[in-house]
Each structure stands twice: as C-alpha cells, then as structure tokens.
C-alpha cells in the first residue's frame, strides 16, 4: 500500500478504471503524453495508449459535446477541463444535455460521463486559474457534483464517479493536490456519492466545509481544541445531491454551525446549507449560522489572493461569534 497525495489518488483511480473497463477513456487537452498540466493523467497514455487517453483539439464545447455523444453510446468518458476557469464553454452541453439525457429519453439514453476540473485558488496561478464556481453546477438538476478533500476520498469518490451511470462533475481542489499523503489501497473500492463525511467528531460547534478549505478548517479545529473547544468537522464531499441529514444531525448535537467556503458567497452552497438550517434546523440552532466565505468579488490575481481566501483566523473569529451566544 502506497502513501499517495490527492492528485496521485486521482491518477490511481483512473488507472484502475482504465484497466478494468474498456469503455473508460480519458479525453482533454494535454492529458496524453504530457500527463496533464498537474500530472493527473501521468503515465496513462503510455500505459493504455493514445486511443484510451486522448489529446483533443483545444475546444471545450467539443470535448463536452463529444463526451456526451460517447457516453450515450455506452462509453464512459472522463473529460478534463484543464482548469475550472475553462469549463464554461462546456456549460451548454452539461446543462442542456449531460444533465438531461436520461430524463429526456426516459432512460433510453444515459450519460455516464465525468468532467474533471482542478479548481480553487492559492497556488499563485495566472488569471482565470483560481476560481471556485461549484455552485453553478450544484444548482443544475441531474448532475452529481463531487469534491474530495483527501487522497482516500479522492480515490473512492472518483471511482464511484467514473462508474456512476449518471454525469458527475468532479472538482479537484488543486491547492491540496500535494498537501498530505495517505495510505490508499488500489483495491477498487468506491465511496458512496451522496454522503457527507464527519472528519472529526466534536460537541461544541459544527464546522462544515469541502475542498481545499478543509486545511484551514482542520487547523481551526486544532486551535479550538487547544482552547478546550471541541469542533465537529464535516466534509460535504458530495455537494449535489447534498446529504443534509449528516449536517443537520451534527448541528442538532452542537447547536452551532460555521460554514467555510472558498467560493463567493451569494447563491452558493454555503447558502443552501444555512437555508436548510433556517428551516428544518431552526430549533436546533443556539446561535446564528455564520458563513466564512470568499468575497463577492473577482478572485484577485495572486498578489492579493491570500486576502481573498478565508483564513484560519477568520474561521476562529466566526466560531467565537457563535460561541459567544448563549
């Protein structure tokens, strides 16, 4: 069993499925010999050939459209958007076709594709390389949207995504591509696609997050522990459809909730979670639901990106606010 990083776990999952299912193909820009700009497909073209790991022309609408076409014919394409900032030309195919093919044809045709995209800021990348717009896809019925925040979950969730008979948008928090290593067995065990993960149990406050903000959230939980405050940490992981039950259960226990998200605030996943707490969870709440989020601004170029991103301090501040209330 090897210790692998998140991006290596991504590679491992694709390698596993390429090896076990001849209908699986990878397609995208630079995914072939180059192994992807983040090396997520490293070695796969060499191992499985250029018919399985396909470098495409530079045209995202075409990539998405072809992936839809291939998926309807029984293949299982894993299409890559090189960065989430370049996923937008795919949106028409994702919204109008991938998400709708099964429903539209009453199941005659289906769309078992995965669109992978590295997303999020904090790696000193150029313009358009740092955004987090997962909420756009989460809003679209018919899509599954998945975000792993550890190597183990990256492996298990990507396997499930590839095998899913329905389309999955699989967003990879690239800031933590190399953050930590975990022992991940390449055993083909998939994770469920509609479950939040309680990463750390606690009693005093529930911290809900996903993707790369897991790093700061766990740091905050550590600091809180030093102060004798026990925080429960939840990785949403499958952001659509959302497993609200796990979150609500935790808040029922702690009575307090802080949601941490890198994305801009307005109409986002943090809004959805808080909205559910304002409804079914209202009587459990002992304090306002606080959201620590990116600002409603354009993700700044990297000189200022740290000022945009939620920090451990901001999380602690919000936790203090909800704990002050008694």
């Amino acid at each position: 069993m090897a210790k692998v990083t998140l991006v290596e776990a991504v590679t491992m999952a694709m390698d596993h499925e390429l090896g076990h299912d001849k209908d699986v193909v990878i397609m995208g820009e630079d995914v072939g010999i180059n192994g992807g700009v983040f090396r997520a497909t490293k070695g796969l073209a060499q191992k499985y050939g250029e018919d399985r790991v396909i470098d495409t022309p530079l045209a995202e609408a075409m990539i998405a459209g072809m992936a839809v076409g291939m998926a309807t014919q029984g293949m299982k394409p894993i299409a890559e958007a090189q960065f989430m900032g370049f996923i937008y030309p795919m949106v028409e195919h994702i919204v109008c076709h991938a998400a709708r093919m099964r429903n539209r044809t009453r199941g005659r045709l289906t769309c078992p594709l995965v669109i992978r995209a590295p997303y999020g800021g904090g790696i000193h990348a150029p313009e358009h390389h740092s955004e987090s717009t997962e909420a756009l896809f989460a809003h679209i019925p018919g899509l599954r949207v998945v975000i792993p925040s550890s190597p183990t979950r990256a492996y298990g969730l990507l396997l499930a995504a590839i095998r899913s008979p329905d389309p999955v948008i699989f967003l990879e928090p690239k800031r933590i591509y190399h953050w930590s290593k975990e022992e991940v067995e390449n055993d083909g065990e998939e994770y469920p696609l509609d479950m939040c993960y309680v990463i750390r149990e606690g009693e005093d406050v529930t911290l809900v997050t996903w993707g790369a903000m897991m790093k700061e959230t766990l740091e905050a939980a550590d600091k809180l522990a030093e102060q004798g405050i026990s925080a429960e940490v939840i990785d949403v992981a499958t952001i659509s459809p959302l497993d609200m039950d796990t979150i609500a259960e935790s808040v029922a226990k702690t009575g307090r909730c802080v949601i941490v998200q890198e994305a801009a605030r307005h109409c986002s996943l943090s809004s959805e979670i808080a909205a559910n707490l304002a409804d079914q969870g209202l009587y459990d709440l002992q304090a306002p639901v606080k959201r620590v989020t990116g600002y409603d601004v354009i993700m700044p170029l990297f000189k200022m990106e740290k000022k945009y991103m939620p920090t451990t301090e901001r999380i602690l501040q919000a936790v203090n606010q909800v704990l002050e209330v008694s």
């Binding site: 193909v25 018919d51 495409t56 022309p57 045209a59 609408a61 075409m62 998405a64 459209g65 072809m66 992936a67 839809v68 076409g69 291939m70 998926a71 309807t72 014919q73 029984g74 293949m75 394409p77 030309p89 028409e92 195919h93 109008c96 076709h97 099964r102 429903n103 539209r104 044809t105 009453r106 199941g107 005659r108 045709l109 289906t110 019925p141 018919g142 599954r144 899913s164 008979p165 329905d166 509609d194 459809p241 959302l242 497993d243 609200m244 039950d245």
Partner: protein, 360 residues
Amino acid sequence: MTTVASFNIDYLQYLTPNGELVGDKKPRIATDFEKLKSIYELMVLTRTFDSKAVALQRTGKLGTYASCLGHEAVHIGIGSAMAESDVFAPMYREYGAQFYRGVKMSEVLNYWGGDERGSNFSGPQHDFPWCVPIATQCTHAAGAAMAMKLRGEKRAAVSVVGDGGSSKGDFLEAINAASAFTLPMVLMIVNNQWAISVPRKKQSAGRTLAQKGLAGGLPSLQVDGNDYIAVYTAVRAALKRAYEGKGATVIEAITYRLSDHTTADDASRYRPDDEVENARQFEPIKRMRKYLMSNKQWNEQLENQLLETSKKEVEEAVDEYLSSGNPGVASMFDYMFADMPHTLEAQKQYALDLEEKSNG
C-alpha cells in the same frame, strides 16, 4: 507567393424541378423504381402527417410544432441512405428521416405534445433524441463517431444542422473534430434559406455553406435538397467513405422552408409571399411524382390510394397520441438518476402527497 492548397465546392443534382433526370453518370437508385416508389410513399405520408400536426396545433391539441413542409426529399434522403446501425443526430424537424428509421408518428406528436415519452422512441435505440439547442447535436454525433472509431466498428454518425445552425460554434467545432480524429461521420447542412426570420445571406457572406467543411479539409459539397436522388447518392457516398475509415464529409442540401418556422411563428411578418410561391415550383414531391409518372411507375389511381392510406395511418397515430394520457407526477423524479438520491425521494413524496390531496 506560392499556392499551398486549393479547394472546390461542387453541386450535385439528378432530378430537375420538372422531374427530368440529368447528369452524366446516373446512380443506380435513379432507376430502382421499387425503392423510389416506397420513398415517394413515405414522402407523401410525411407531408400528410405534417399538415395534420399543424392542424392539431391550431385546434389546441398539440403544442408548438416545427413543420417539415418542403424538406421531405432531404430528410428521407438522409434516413434512407443510412444503415440501421448508423447513429442519427437530428435537429428537430427531420421526421421523414426518422420515420424511415422506425420512429412512430405518435411519438413525434408526443414530443410536441409536451411529453418526454416521445423521445423514448422506436427505431434504432442508439439514435439521438430531438435537439433544440442549435447545433449541439453535431458534437454529439462526433462523439458517437468517436465511439465507433475507437471500437473499430463499420458504422457512421450523421448529424443535421440548419443554415442558421451552421453559424454556431458547435457545428464548426464538430467539423474540426471530424478532421482532427478522422471520424466516420456525415455533417449535413439542411439549408432551407431561413433561420426563423433571418435569411441565409445574413448567416455568412460565403458563397456556400458547404465550404465551412474546408476549414478542416473535409470533402464538402452542395446537393439539390429537393432532389431525393441527389441527396441519397451524396449521403450514400459519404457514408461509404466513412465506413472505409476515410473520414467525414460535409453536405449542404439546398431546399426551402415552405412553412412558418414553427406554429408559433408567422413568416408573413418577414418573408415575401412571392418568394414562397416561387419556391413551391422546386418542392421535392412534385418532381418525384413527375419522374415516376413519366416512367410509368405511378398514376392517378395509385396517388389517390396513397393519399387515402396516408390519411388513415396518420389518423391512427393521432388517436394513439391523444389517448396517451400524461406521464404522471412521479415521472418528473424517476428519470433524474439511476439511483434516486434521498433528497429527491423526499421531494417526490411531497409532490405525490400534494397530488393526492388535490385529487382527493
């Protein structure tokens, strides 16, 4: 200055508007009268269906409907040139092609009647459903062709786009994909001169629309889209090329939209009547009938019989459609995912409870 590449766009016609056969090398289909008669019958059936569908909409029994009046030759030309194992990626008005492939008239009506079950149609189960987002079907067809290529199959995908749709990125990217991957596909442009109210000349100043295929170096040609023999011959040749692994072809079929864009449209607002009147001379059914008659393959009596049986067949389809009921509240939820997430289960239960309450 040296010339590094040269290209031609050719135009293909066999059957003139007067029903005369022209051209040096006649294709076999031109004298396969059994086949031509059955094609003619389908053309007439399609037109009968079409005018009935428009009438249904006018009387509130159908939603917005896109007529195929005048497109019978090109649509059936495409449908009849294809093998069942080929994949068809239509836009939204190619009923003639689909009927040939086994789609039922009642299914077409279901679709325009606001019922998803229409797209779960008969015929080759791998065919794409109607595609409203213009030109997106072209990259889907490219994907299907890619699947065939990767699997080493002797099949091809055929997409159809309009003169309007030929301006959209998806069509142009599909051409590029077909070129880059040497895909077994045929990209049809059904140029009916209008995209709702926008005339062909506003889409591009190019002399032809076929030349868009030159972008990828694909063989690209025009055919008389009101001439079944030309369409069939061109598509057939293109498919043969595709089966042989030689890649894709772009075919622009020149025809005319004799109807409004859809029943929601009123073409008289933007289109001169005399243009339509003039176009009627070139319509495809008349010339086919003339050709068959002049070859003693058809006569008044057969014609009357055909009109009769077509009408009856259409009536039966309409009855089937009208008695199809509605798909039920649960159906909104049941086809969203293979495995329904529990959040959606809850919403479904809520909707069913609501329904029960409002019914009981």
